[in-house]
């Protein structure tokens, strides 16, 4: 299998704070990888480094045969990497449809084509009923859905999702998990930052654990939950591995 994304020795400091330190990992084409760790571990910073919002101090980000460091965010999106933001940032004045059309224009400047592609993406995230609602009137959860549709409309090969499940209830998490599963089946490579362990276990084949900006563990879900250092730094001793299909709350 080819590598979709290869990150090597990525580092970023903010003043005295080492936000990301010497981070390396790889994502295979078509794989879903989760980036986990306590708050402030450097997950969102890593996203910002990969997608061009911050310039790394050192290191390289290589995706689909191209070095991304030094590219602007829109160029990285054009190269097939789409992201969502931790706090959704919809264009509040625009309707849901207009928001997603703006994303669709990246690949096709024709109004009708963009509209129909946008509708497909909106339907995919289940927001069709609110197509003509101004984005600022949506609930937080719907705003996240919208942002995912907007990212999908850019027709990415790799999707970076930043805590799309925070604050969702049990059933909604299941919906989101199903959605990500569907995307993955279509061949999309996905990198996901998430705290909802149940969801991570369900979607991720490979997990990278960060703490204080450094990678402390990496491996399959089962290895990760058994890893003593991960338990100490993040999961806590109370955590027990649940089978993905299981219904236990976490």
């Amino acid at each position: 299998m080819a590598e979709a994304l290869v990150i090597r020795n990525l580092s970023k400091r903010f003043g005295g704070l080492r936000a990301v330190q010497d981070l390396s990992f790889a994502v295979q084409d078509g794989e879903t990888v989760a980036l986990i760790g306590p708050n402030g571990a450097g997950k969102t910073t890593s996203f910002n480094l990969i997608t061009g919002y911050y310039r790394p101090d050192t290191g390289s980000v290589f995706a689909f045969g191209r070095e991304l460091v030094g590219l602007r965010p829109h160029e990285i999106c054009g190269h097939g990497l789409a992201r969502t933001f931790q706090v959704a940032r919809p264009f509040g004045k625009m309707t849901v449809l207009a928001n997603v059309m703006t994303g669709a224009f990246l690949r096709n400047k024709n109004l009708d084509t963009a509209r129909s592609r946008a509708r497909t993406a909106i339907e995919f995230v289940g927001l069709s009923a609110k197509e003509h609602t101004p984005a600022r009137e949506l609930t937080t959860i719907d705003q996240r859905r919208l942002e995912m549709a907007r990212a999908l409309a850019t027709e990415p090969r790799l999707l970076l999702l930043d805590e799309v499940m925070a604050g969702l209830n049990h059933a909604e998490v299941d919906q989101a998990v199903a959605l990500i599963g569907k995307l993955s089946k279509r061949g999309l490579t996905i990198v996901i930052v998430e705290h909802v362990m149940r969801a991570i276990m369900a979607v991720a084949r490979h997990i990278v654990v960060l703490d204080h900006g450094q990678k402390i563990a990496e491996g399959g879900p089962k290895d990760i939950v058994a890893n003593q250092e991960v338990i100490r730094a993040y999961l806590g001793t109370g955590y027990r591995y649940e089978a993905p299909a299981g219904d236990a709350a976490c």
Binding site: H74, M94, A98, T102
Partner: protein
């Protein structure tokens, strides 16, 4: 039913256009025609400002830079080289576009209030420079344009109506360009940039490029207004051509009317110029300060009570009116 809804805007545009076209034939009072020309000109400059300031929210307070560059380019070509302002007006637009590139490169690094301040500074620097250019731009004294009588080829006319139609054509051009942009990918991109630049970048919008492009268009159109104005008043000096009031009025009419809307600048200009004309007839033109006092009061009120602009008030009224009409129509059986 939906068919009527869709065609009705065009119906109103046609009515407006018809009124605008016959207006100078009906009204012959030169004072009134003069006001109409001012309305058309400032609505046009407002439309040019609105493309950038309204849709992309790049709140420039320095559009006088392009107004002045347009005015000076065509005037210098006319007086020094005898070139017709019809060519000069395009040349002025091109000069303004060229100037917008470095100015944009500088100012677009800044966001919000500091963008506004930087644009003020660029317009002021240009004005100060033209005050110093005595040799080819007449310095602070300025110059009057040679009066060629009725010379349509030199953009000089005996009748005010001709200037009126020229200004009307400019406004129509500005509105048509806005309409086209609003309904294309570019309109979506501009609003996206205005709403959230980071989020726009995330979905592949080259925010720097789109801002640069809209600035080019906005500067070009503003410069056309500059040439027209100088051809109309037959006089140029740096304080007229680069007047801070031009920058202010361009932003003001858009904000009062409705920022980021097609008709906002037109509504805003009609309102402000009508107010200004009334004030002049009440107080005479001797009282400096009255007009801008009232303008700024209107601006403060709009910002506090209706930041989306007054056009919303009119469309609300219109909707209420038509809904009421529709409801009444329903009560009456068609055959009754």
């Amino acid at each position: 039913m939906t068919h009527i809804w869709k065609t009705r805007p065009w119906f109103w545009v046609a009515v407006l256009a018809a009124i605008a076209l016959v207006l100078p034939l009906v009204v012959s009072n030169p004072f009134a025609v003069d006001i109409f020309i001012r309305v058309l000109l400032f609505a046009f400059i407002g439309v040019a400002w609105n493309l950038m300031g309204g849709y992309a929210k790049q709140l420039s307070l320095g559009h006088a830079a392009y107004f002045g560059l347009g005015a000076y380019t065509s005037t210098i070509l006319l007086i020094r080289f005898g070139i017709s302002p019809w060519i000069g007006i395009i040349a002025g637009g091109v000069v303004a576009m060229l100037a917008s590139l470095p100015i944009g490169a500088l100012c677009f690094r800044l966001r919000g209030p500091y963008f506004a301040i930087a644009t003020i500074a660029t317009a002021q620097v240009l004005m100060l420079l033209f005050l110093k250019f005595r040799d080819f731009a007449w310095g602070a004294e300025g110059t009057t344009l040679p009066n060629l009588g009725d010379a349509p080829l030199m953009m000089q006319f005996d009748s005010k109506a001709a200037y009126y139609y020229l200004a009307l054509a400019l406004l129509a051009l500005g509105l048509a360009i806005t309409y086209r942009i609003e309904r294309s990918w570019m309109g979506f991109y501009l609003v996206a940039v205005g709403e959230d630049e980071d989020a726009a970048e995330a979905i592949g919008v080259d925010t720097t490029k789109i801002k640069r492009h809209i600035y080019l268009i906005s500067a070009f159109l503003t410069a056309l207004g500059g040439t027209f104005y100088i051809q109309y008043i037959y006089f140029i000096d740096p304080n007229t051509a680069f007047s801070f009031n031009i920058s202010v009025e361009a932003a003001l009419v858009s904000i009062v009317g409705g920022i980021g809307t097609l008709w906002g600048p037109v509504v805003g200009t009609i309102l402000l110029e009508a107010t200004s004309a009334l004030l002049q007839s009440w107080f005479g033109s001797g009282h400096g300060g009255v007009q801008l006092t009232v303008y700024s009061l209107i601006l403060v009120s709009v910002i506090l009570w209706r930041p989306s602009g007054l056009i919303g008030v009119f469309s609300d009224l219109y909707r209420r009116f038509t809904y009421a009409g529709a409801a009444r129509a329903k009560e009456v059986p068609l055959d009754g």
